[in-house]
Amino acid sequence: MKLLLVEDEPDLLASLVSYLRAQHYVCEVATTFAQAQEKMLLHSYECIVLDLTLPGGDGLDLLRELQRHHPGAAVIITSARAAVGDRIAGLELGADDYLPKPFYLPELSARIAALVRRRHYQGTNLLRVGELQVDVPARRAAVGERPLTLTRTEFDLLLLLLANQGRVVTKGAIAEHLSGDAAEQFDTFENVYAHVKNLKRKLGEAGAPSYIRMVYGLGYRFDTSEA
């Protein structure tokens, strides 16, 4: 899986590369408009993570050009320009997703995973993790032969954790994933605790090992190896 990360802020880029490489993605980077332009047009990527404010040009122009040469390329825009207009323009120009800065790395990872899944396995993709089988398009999950009845939120939570296997997903990231960035945030995480508890209970009742672990009150990790 080859990704192109377009980001001019070196520290942020380093974080992206570090996190996504550990997710077994091959990451190429571009830090300027010209670099990004060259790489985008010469190579093809599973997914392009595109920052809009770049030295040398506007990311939206890049997006336009990309759509001319590689229509249908998968693009996630990450931008500090959270202006509604930019978001709409980006999506209208063919971007698949828009992630306003600041974002959580697990969130980005989940979005990339979802996008790649959608692009590559149109409609038929069964995720197998340990004893867990997840049919993403149908939004069904099962442990072995025993189906799980998950609420929409619990299913979303499961997908987030699965997209970040073996990594700690912080409570904040889970809260934002579940409620969306539009929602008023509480500093307490009752929501997160309750949903994780329910998910764990349902997995346990279906006979799955305890894949989801809490990490020092910081967040949760989904790991099949530890179980």
């Binding site: 802020e9 800065k101 600041p102 700690v168 008023e184 967040g219």
Partner: protein, 428 residues
Amino acid sequence: MKLLARTTFIFLLYASVVAVAGTFVYYEVIHRLYYAYVDRTLGRRKQRVELALRQELRTPADLAFWHRIDHNVEFVPLGGTPAATPGPNIFQDRLMFNTLTGKNQYYRQVAGTEAFQGKSYRLEVRTSLLDGPALLGGIVLAEAVLFGVLLGGMLLIQHVLARHYWRPFYRTLGTLQQYQLDQHHAPVLAPTNIPEFKALNAAIGRVLGRHQRLYQRQREFAENAAHELQTPLAILRTKLDLLVQAPGLTEEQASHIEPLLAVTQRLTHLSRSLLLLTHLDQQLYFATETVDLAAVVHTQLGQLAEQLASGQLALETDLVPSLRVSANRSLVDILVSNLLSNAIRHNVPCGRLRVVLTAQQLLVENTGRPQALPADQLFARLRPRPDRLPGSVGLGLPIARQICETSGFLLSYHYEEPGRHQLRVRIS
């Protein structure tokens, strides 16, 4: 009453006073002139009669004869011997029967004693008088016509003035009435040649321009500040995300990281709120669609179920099954979420949350401190409030209000029963 109409009215009021007074003045002057003329004419005629008396008339029969052919000359015989000198002329008005018209009418006469053939006579010479009331009537009529012409002229002049000379003023007024501070440019005031309006436009233009620049600067500052915060926050967040992955992370290290995560979360929320507020202030275009408010309330209540449970709050709802409004979906989500969150945050343990949705309004009521909150501070941005909770950013209600303004709703605070705080969104 318009300024111009008011001046015209006062002017006409004065003109009517002058016209009424003028009628009497005219009457008096004409009356005097007329009498002076009549008296002079009568005096001269009497002199002619006296001359004829001395040279032409011979017998008393002649005197009677003169009166028969001219009724306005009469010799009235007086008893006694004539005085050595003729008596003074006596002018007077008298009512007499006119045989021609068959009416009594006023005459002006001059009378004096005359001696004729050793006998004394009173010579009366008279002429019929102009009818006084008729004169007055004529003058009043003339005045009325003049006044009418004046009135018509004034109204016409006012109309022309209003259309022509006052036009720059009304144009400036119209521009100001439509002016909103958050427009992108200060309004352009139409040029004019009238010095007063020129000065007015210049002064207004200066003030508007200054305000506009100030407002623009402040808005840009807020937007840039929020925007500039996003990238450092993004770095902070992603570094923390990486930090928590570190193998061999100890519990103590984790306990240091957790508050960092929390404040990063809060900073993020704050900068996003500020950014949203500046966008709302700029009245950027927010695409509207038909949103079912009832569904939004249900969804948001569902999201907040855990918060409700943890505060052991009793939820009462009375919602119409469906209420379609035309608004931006994200904004409506934020609005409802903010109102509900606010009502949960500021509730008391084991308190109540009541949500009522009718076709006209959304009402969110929570139990809370047993005193009314100052409504003006409730919607103030980032202002420290006595009831501000440590975790809250303090922009929830200002954002709610701004969203209402953008969407054409009306948000208001009500405190009608002790300990019950109501926020109402009037939809129509």
